[in-house]
């Protein structure tokens, strides 16, 4: 009787387990994103971290297959969350050896999406798990939550426009966890300043955000030599 139950359970769950495999969808996405061999993008970057006061800056992004990515502030210093900003969709999808499992459906920004859990098989990969919210109809990733070994968990939300045929977003909102920041007054030698309510509210914010508004892409037209060195 016990064996009969186990066999019955296997027979019932086996088709369901097969249905959960989303490898074909990921491969389709990969094909779409693989149209882009390299790009140079320009945009504006806004950093919103409780303990950082940074101006909005013009940035330039360089990407080359399979996973080379570089962000440069146009005239100035860029402050980027460690490891995280280089995680773009092309590099996530560039993983070859993975398991893709369905985890249901959800609405993202008014679009119906399929939730896919992407698990890299290579144990040395920094990415441990990525949850993708895929707009199957338009074959676009609307949102991704990535957990890494070294740099915590990141959420990347994407909005698309004229470059959606290439799978490239017009806007990326990158959300990450931040640590506390405090330097003793004896080191900075500053005057004591009373905290306003707005300051206090801002300081309590534990998530950081980096928003990049892409203004243009130059796709598959080559890159400046040595840009990733």
């Amino acid at each position: 009787m016990k064996y009969f139950k186990i066999v019955l359970l296997i027979l019932v769950l086996a088709p369901a387990a097969k249905a959960q495999d989303e490898t074909p969808l990921i491969e389709k996405l990969k094909q779409k994103l693989n149209q882009v061999h390299e790009y140079v993008a320009t945009g504006k970057m806004k950093t919103d971290v409780a303990f950082i006061k940074a101006p909005v800056g013009n940035v330039k992004m360089y990407y080359q297959q399979p996973n080379h990515f570089k962000l440069v502030r146009d005239g100035g210093i860029s402050i980027l969350p460690k490891g995280g900003i280089s995680i773009n969709m092309n590099s996530i999808i560039a993983i070859n050896n993975y398991v893709a499992l369905s985890a249901g459906n959800a609405m993202v920004d008014g679009y119906s999406t399929k939730i896919v859990k992407l698990l890299p098989m290579n144990e040395n990969n920094d990415i441990v798990l990525t949850t993708l919210y895929i707009d199957e109809k338009n074959l676009l990733i609307r949102k991704a939550i990535t957990t890494t070994k070294e740099n915590g968990t990141y959420q990347i939300a994407m909005q698309y426009g004229q470059y959606s045929n290439w799978g490239l977003p017009n806007k990326v909102i990158f959300t990450f966890n931040t640590q506390d920041y405090k330097i003793p007054k004896g080191v900075t030698l500053e005057m004591d300043e009373p905290l306003t309510d707005a300051d206090r509210k801002r300081m309590q914010q534990k998530n950081g955000r980096v928003e990049i508004d892409y203004t243009s892409y130059t796709i598959n037209k080559g890159l400046p030599s040595g840009i990733f060195n």
Partner: protein, 291 residues
């Protein structure tokens, strides 16, 4: 009055002691610049350790603007000592060598003499700061280039765009002049009461060190008296290097976060200068000149 001022300036710049401060500043700034040029990245990495655990900085972090800020932070605590060397000697030095009585036989009022002497000390202070600005800012810009200025404050980190920094330094040096004039006025006041230079110089230096320590210690009982100490307000030049943010937490170029603090601190320092010089004039008028 102008002749008196010229005479006082001549006396200041005739003394070898005057040039000690210029040489000391040049040597200190040169050493800091050399050290940062040779191993500045390690220094920046050490200072930014708190933030570099979570963030990556791309760009020329160790640029001329940051080097100047580091130098100002280090030196503006010590420059008062160099100013005291001259300011606290202005009257007592003359009393010591016996020329004060001779000076007062001239057909000028005591107030004019005091004002001329203080103005001469103020010009010396101004020249010292201009010298410091040339070496700390312009030479650093030439040696290290320019880029955005990133400053770590007690509660947050500020990024100033490179085209939004220079005017802040002009403001900071202007404010530093007020702070140093307060020290000069204190030294000058003390020099009225002594007949030798050592006493007022050491007294000025001791007062500055004592009050600076009280101003920087984050102990609640000291924090209550800190707003009343002029040394607390001497560091308000740093307020030039902080800016406002908009509702989206994006920094607004060309703004100052706490302009009111700068105005208030400048007012307090000016008040100290006026009070110190006022007392000096009053005391000098009533002083029985015996030497």
């Amino acid at each position: 009055m102008l002749t008196l001022l010229q005479v006082e300036l001549y006396k200041i710049f005739k003394r070898p002691r005057t040039y000690i401060a210029f040489i000391a500043i040049a040597a200190l700034i040169g050493i800091i610049q050399l050290g940062l040029k040779l191993d500045g990245d390690a220094y920046v990495s050490f200072v930014m350790n708190n933030v570099e655990q979570s963030f990556v900085f791309q760009g020329n972090l160790l640029n001329g603007y940051l080097v100047c800020y580091i130098i100002l932070q280090l030196l503006l605590v010590h420059v008062p000592l160099l100013i005291a060397l001259v300011a606290a000697d202005m009257v007592s030095g003359e009393a010591n060598i016996g020329t004060l009585r001779l000076l007062l036989t001239q057909p000028v009022s005591r107030n004019e003499i005091i004002l001329a002497k203080f103005l001469a000390a103020a010009i010396y202070t101004l020249l010292l700061l201009v010298w410091m600005a040339i070496l700390a800012l312009f030479v650093s810009m030439w040696l290290f280039g320019t880029d955005d200025l990133i400053i770590q404050k007690t509660r947050y980190l500020v990024q100033l765009s490179r085209n939004d920094v220079f005017w802040r330094y002009i403001g900071a040096f202007g404010f530093a002049l007020l702070a140093m004039l307060t020290v000069a006025a204190l030294g000058f006041l003390l020099s009225i009461f002594a007949d030798n230079s050592i006493g007022p110089i050491v007294a000025t230096i001791s007062i500055i060190i004592f009050l600076t320590i009280l101003s920087t210690m984050s102990i609640p009982i000291f924090q209550k008296i800190q707003p009343y100490l002029f040394t607390t307000h001497m560091v308000a030049w740093k307020e030039f290097f902080d800016l406002k943010v908009n509702a989206d937490n994006a920094a607004i170029n060309g703004t100052i976060q706490n302009k009111q603090q700068i105005i208030q601190s400048a007012g307090i320092l000016i008040l100290h200068i006026v009070v110190f010089i006022g007392i000096a004039m009053y005391a000098f008028k009533r002083k029985d000149i015996l030497t």
